[in-house]
Symmetry: C4
Amino acid sequence: MRFLRWPVVSDSQAEIDRIAFFSDAVFAIAITLLVVEISVPDGPIAGLATALADRGPKFFAFVLSFLVIGQFWISHHRVFRHLRRYDLGVMWLNLLYLLGVAFLPFPTALLGNYFHSALVGVFYGASLFAPSAMGALLWFYSARRGFLRESPDTRQIGARALVTPAVFLVGIGLAPINIYLSVFCWIILLPLLRLLLSATAE
Amino acid sequence: MRFLRWPVVSDSQAEIDRIAFFSDAVFAIAITLLVVEISVPDGPIAGLATALADRGPKFFAFVLSFLVIGQFWISHHRVFRHLRRYDLGVMWLNLLYLLGVAFLPFPTALLGNYFHSALVGVFYGASLFAPSAMGALLWFYSARRGFLRESPDTRQIGARALVTPAVFLVGIGLAPINIYLSVFCWIILLPLLRLLLSATAE
Amino acid sequence: MRFLRWPVVSDSQAEIDRIAFFSDAVFAIAITLLVVEISVPDGPIAGLATALADRGPKFFAFVLSFLVIGQFWISHHRVFRHLRRYDLGVMWLNLLYLLGVAFLPFPTALLGNYFHSALVGVFYGASLFAPSAMGALLWFYSARRGFLRESPDTRQIGARALVTPAVFLVGIGLAPINIYLSVFCWIILLPLLRLLLSATAE
Amino acid sequence: MRFLRWPVVSDSQAEIDRIAFFSDAVFAIAITLLVVEISVPDGPIAGLATALADRGPKFFAFVLSFLVIGQFWISHHRVFRHLRRYDLGVMWLNLLYLLGVAFLPFPTALLGNYFHSALVGVFYGASLFAPSAMGALLWFYSARRGFLRESPDTRQIGARALVTPAVFLVGIGLAPINIYLSVFCWIILLPLLRLLLSATAE
């Protein structure tokens, strides 16, 4: 069945750049839309300090998602640095990846509204897991089709592509116990593990 | 009447890239704005699970529109890969195309609010038909003016450019009967037909 | 007083491209945000057809602003095609131009809400006049500093750069009489005059 | 401890361009989202003129933030013009910089709602200080790692990178006395000082 192999394969750098560019734009918009979900106080001035303090969890969720999407973007950047060919499969996997990224303003706002809910912790964690798993798929699909530029750090990036969704899964498991444990996974453990992988690979 | 032919024609690749870039940005923004229309629950935590479940149709409409706009973007990408000259006609057809794309967050949100309304099904379908028809127009206008780079798949892309609005028309016709039939057309039948066309053309 | 001349002048094409790119992004976002201002009906389904019909002026204002911003973008495109050097003056004039463009979603939504108000007609017209005047300023400033690439159509673009704000001014004057007269100026008369100028210049 | 030095260093111009591009997109979106926070009047037409006049502080805050973000963008542009290498440190400092920029629609809307509140003046000022300090950090980090292209104006840009957060700090100090004093610092004093620095450096 030749249908199962996407018929179009292109190795034009200009077109790969256009896909990377489109992805960057989606990242940039998703990351900048996060703040729109924080409602701006407009009540009497006497209650303003309280109103701002009440938004603490929302600010925290904003910063958290910004840093996580930032990590996603850096990883995506790295994948596309190695891509020298693509087919429709790459385009669709990338689109599904971006679907996950574009969705993130919703779970972020939800986390800001219900910071201590286990349900929301799991929902938020799953929303992070989805694009990171898709990113791993994108990497391994490209590797198997021979679309990746050979480089000394190819193996290391593959390892990292697996570590990221794994850590997110652990984070989801911890959310019902304590949301701060999940947060610790997402913004402390994850960068640390990735750095370790970088260091040992050399 | 020489007015009927746009006076400015340029074959600068840098300028064609700028048009493609601007279009990409509109696609990226429209696709990322879709999620903003899903209101974030903020009621008491006891009702949260229900509130999320109630948003099912909205999530579905979000994913549906994301995938359709994704298909539009891939097609647009393909058209611009073949463009080697342009005139004001190309620019305006492209702008009208983007007008349709930029409008999509509205019908998407409407579909999420009234999932089983035949009126909304038709409205949503028509909103998808408009840019796809404009895309076909853009392709055939460019072909007739001799703006397209010769390539083995030119004919096949032309066929695909016609199949897309046709399938959307069928989808509109089915919406009053059952919205899921339309959805089937838009996200199952359409990619399938396009793949078939790709396969037979080779 | 050498302060009055901006000290930094650069002729790097890559940097001019970055300014053009940033401007394109602002155009693309402004043009795509227009639709967000149209509230999505969510009342009982029986009133849906009426609710959509009531939004007629909003849809009209959306399309109108989209076409006008589209014209602005095409003009801006043309200016930057001729730019081969820039200084801080160009950067700030361009930023003020973009300030006007980024503001447009507000008057557009206002026009949608109060379609037959003379005050709103004038406000909307003035909001279109401001960026078009800034565009003319940008062109003539660049011309006087010798930043423009010589080309046969330089004079014609200058003439067009003056015609656009002039037509917007006339449109403002007509708004208190009848908003449709203004609309006629903005989307019929303006493109026509510009085409005429193109034709006679050759 | 080699962990403290980021392991990845790249000198590919294409990749530096991609970071600059992503940053530009965030700037462009933040600057264009400012207007969305200004609610569009939709009450009876008789109260429209008052409703618009009441939004005076919001329009002022919109223009103010637009001009400040514009300055940030011009500075950022200048930094990236000199960058010829980067590492993960540059990427993360840049992301933190963009975090500050992406946050700005919130304090801008807040300033529009509570124009004469000292608390809001300080909050707004601090929101401007954060990215400008991060910009200085980005510059000096890149300088110390030897990532900057040598050029006659390197020292002058460094001086400017320090002046900007310093002036924002002074502006914060003045906000409790009178918000207009702060505004004076941010949009009159700052550009003036930067121009002076440019002039004396030559």
